[in-house]
């Protein structure tokens, strides 16, 4: 269980690791229950020892800390790509995929992807979900399929992440704040921040910055009448905290292609070469629930 817990902390999100961790957890509960039954008499004697009560107190304290996640705990969990200071959960079944993201008690994001007829449940499509600022910079990857070919199958997401990593490296080399580097490129101070909290959970609603929720999806080996393998498709929706909406549908914006002249990946309009790829996804609904009263206290800044 310690091994699977460490893997869940350190490795990219994997349904196998999470499943293994859950299974070992259940196994641990069974073993503990058997152990209690087998040793009920000596255990009763233990409760007469003061050290047992100290152990119980420490256990309750640690459990509370991990449930309520005060700032130092969030800092530690934030080092993980999966756990983070958030409740972050991805589920997949035959009817679709859901991604839940709750960086603060008063904020819940749900991305509900309904599958279309071209969705192959046996060999599910590669998927990346990320946030972009108004200057089109990647600010946070929320989810990416745990597959060795994800970067290859999801080239637009990979390109965006690389741009962000380069900007971060440049900032570190020049000992600048990250947003100073971005401002130099984008020229847009308002959208220069790379801190997702500035977009998702702004401390000042009046100066909130719009951002985009993006997904890239690619079904491996999906040929069309005009293509051997249809490229990935990119969907997006803009979220404006200044005028928040609870429900929004993501729109298909196009497919990525490498622009040889500019040496970068760009999105192109879908044309008549595409057929089944357009039916991998039936719809993608973004739902954001916010409790503005709690938010205004500024208790939690988020990730």
């Amino acid at each position: 269980m310690a091994v699977s817990g460490f893997l869940a902390f350190s490795q990219p999100f994997s349904i196998k690791v999470i499943g293994l961790h859950a299974l070992t957890g259940f196994l641990f509960i069974i073993v503990v229950t058997c152990h209690v039954f087998n040793n009920i008499v000596p255990l009763k004697k233990y409760f007469k020892e003061p050290v047992v009560w100290v152990v119980i107190f420490v256990t309750v304290l640690l459990t509370s800390l991990f449930i309520y996640q005060p700032r130092p705990v969030r800092a530690v969990l934030g080092l993980s790509g999966n756990l983070g200071p958030v409740l972050d959960r991805f589920e997949m079944n035959e009817s679709g995929m859901t991604y839940r993201y709750s960086p603060a008690p008063f904020y819940k994001l749900l991305l509900d992807l309904r599958t279309g007829p071209s969705f192959d449940t046996q060999n599910p499509p590669r998927l990346a979900i990320w946030l972009e600022n108004q200057s089109f910079y990647h600010i946070k990857t929320l989810f990416v399929s745990d597959s060795s070919d994800s970067r290859e199958m999801l080239p637009f997401w990979a390109f965006k992440v690389e741009g962000w990593e380069n900007a971060k490296r440049e900032a570190e080399e020049k000992e600048l704040a990250l947003d100073e580097v971005v401002d130099g490129v984008s020229g847009a101070t308002q959208n220069g921040s790379f801190d997702p909290a500035d977009y998702i959970l702004p401390t000042d609603q009046n100066s909130s910055m719009p951002y985009r929720v993006m997904i890239e999806i690619n079904q491996p080996g999906d040929s069309s009448q005009k293509m051997k393998d249809q490229p990935s498709l990119v969907y997006e929706v803009e979220v404006d905290n200044f005028a928040p909406r609870t429900f929004q549908l993501l729109e298909l914006i196009g497919y990525p292609e490498f622009d040889e002249e500019k040496k970068e990946w760009a999105i192109y309009y879908v044309d008549d070469r595409f057929d089944s790829a357009l039916e991998i996804v039936d719809s993608v609904l973004l739902q954001i629930e916010r409790d503005l009263n709690k938010e205004s206290t500024g208790d939690v800044k988020g990730p």
């Binding site: 089109f136 729109e251 298909l252 914006i253 760009a266 999105i267 192109y268 309009y269 044309d271």
Partner: protein, 424 residues
């Protein structure tokens, strides 16, 4: 060796002397070309009279295209422009990145405006945006062009369409006649009387409509104008963007308000030159104005019509741009929803209750938010071509633009390369 050195020295001396002489005598003039202007008939007469089918007032984005279209449709056409060149906001204002001709991967505005823009880019050795690429911001699909080439080509196309150009003139009074209008224009040293069957008002602020007393709409506070200039590095037309200075309160209502806006903008630019201690490398002759009067037309395009992409029954052209209202705090464009392409009805170009009069450009009958998207150059060019067709056909058939059969307008527009809004 010695003589060679002497020879080099002598050649160097001669070269320096020649360069010195030429730079002293001619500064930057490398060569001069001699041309002869045609002699102007009745040049000594301050009062002249013209009789035309269609009079276009204002030679900006809409007016230039309207005049070319009217001329190509066979109507005897005159274009009166208060300034020194054609192109308006694109040239005099310097906003030389017209848009938007494409929406969602398809061209929605073509015809004469697109022909002019495309040829300008080609002649300048420039490159059009890749319209198959999804623009990550609306301005990625604006076409960057050389404002000077654009002005020259616009003038050439007017001449080729037999449009008579009258610069530095503006209508001072307009009266109805049996067959249309008598328009008295004033220019320096010129008093021109024009008898025409149809007027196309492309003044931006519906000045002709105002002179005739038809109802116009105007907000108490208008969007700022932009004064474009360049400090430090040389101006590279169609290359780097110019610097932009917001002139709040800029109003193109009349010569007095335009004068104030221009002086305000220029004073501020002068202050920047002093503060930044940089050379002023380029400055447009005038503020680019965004908003003044709009007409109250037979139909008023609302922001709901615009953002929903309403297809009007009498639609003559498309428009495409975000709702783009500039304020004192800047601008926050609201993009249209994917797939949405607004349309412009003929009846929104007709001042309510008027006859033999049509407008084109940013004075189109619309509410303020709809107008903030409709006012851009490509949409104005589309309107201009539609107005040119409607006016030419109306003049030919002795009727008013609103009574010209829509099928005839659509047919002639298609013949001249325009895209007509249809149910997809």
């Amino acid at each position: 060796m010695k003589s060679s050195q002497n020879g080099n020295h002598r050649r160097g001396f001669l070269q320096k002397s020649l360069l010195g002489a030429s730079s002293f005598a001619g500064l930057n003039i490398a060569s001069s070309t001699h041309v002869s202007a045609e002699s102007v008939s009745q040049a000594d007469e301050p009062e002249i009279t013209n009789e035309v089918d269609v009079l276009v007032v204002g030679g900006g984005s809409a007016g230039t295209i309207a005049a070319i279209q009217s001329g190509r449709a066979g109507a005897k056409t005159m274009l009166v422009e208060r300034n020194l060149q054609l192109g308006g906001t694109t040239t005099t204002g310097g906003v030389a990145f017209p848009g938007l001709f494409d929406a969602w991967g398809k061209q929605v505005i073509a015809g004469i405006g697109w022909e002019l823009v495309k040829e300008s880019v080609e002649l300048d050795g420039g490159k059009l945006p890749d319209f198959a690429k999804v623009p990550r911001a609306h301005w990625h699909n604006q076409v960057h062009l050389n404002q000077f080439i654009f002005a020259l080509l616009a003038e050439e196309k007017c001449r080729e369409a037999s449009v008579e150009l009258a610069y530095y003139e503006f209508p001072s009074s307009i009266n109805k006649t049996e067959n249309g209008w008598q328009v008295d224009c004033l220019g320096f040293g010129t008093r021109r009387r024009v008898f025409c069957k149809q007027i196309i008002d492309c003044t931006g602020g519906a000045e002709v409509v105002g002179l005739l007393g038809y109802e116009r709409l105007r907000e108490d506070e208008r969007q700022p104008g932009s004064y474009l200039f360049k400090l430090g590095s040389p101006h590279n037309p169609a290359g780097q963007q110019l610097h932009r200075l917001y002139v709040h309160g800029a109003d193109s209502t009349n010569s007095r308000t335009v004068t104030v806006a221009n002086i305000t903008g220029r004073q501020s630019i002068l202050q920047k030159v002093r503060d930044k201690k940089m050379r002023l490398m380029h400055m447009q002759p005038e503020t680019g104005f965004r908003e003044s009067f709009r007409i109250l037309g037979e139909t008023l395009i609302t922001v709901k019509d615009y953002t929903s992409g309403r297809l009007f029954d009498d639609a003559v052209s498309y428009a495409f741009y975000p709702v783009d209202l500039h304020t004192k705090r800047g601008v926050k464009p609201k993009p249209l929803k994917p797939g949405t392409v607004p349309s412009i009805p003929l009846s929104a170009l007709i001042p309510k209750g008027s006859q033999n009069l049509i407008v084109a450009g940013r004075c189109v009958s619309s509410d303020r938010l709809a107008n903030s998207g409709l006012r851009v150059q490509a949409s104005c060019m589309g309107m201009g071509q539609s107005a040119g067709v409607a006016a030419a056909l109306a003049a030919k058939t002795q009727t008013t633009p609103l009574k010209v059969p829509l099928a005839d307008i659509h047919g002639l527009l298609r013949k001249h390369g325009a895209i007509i809004p249809t149910k997809s």
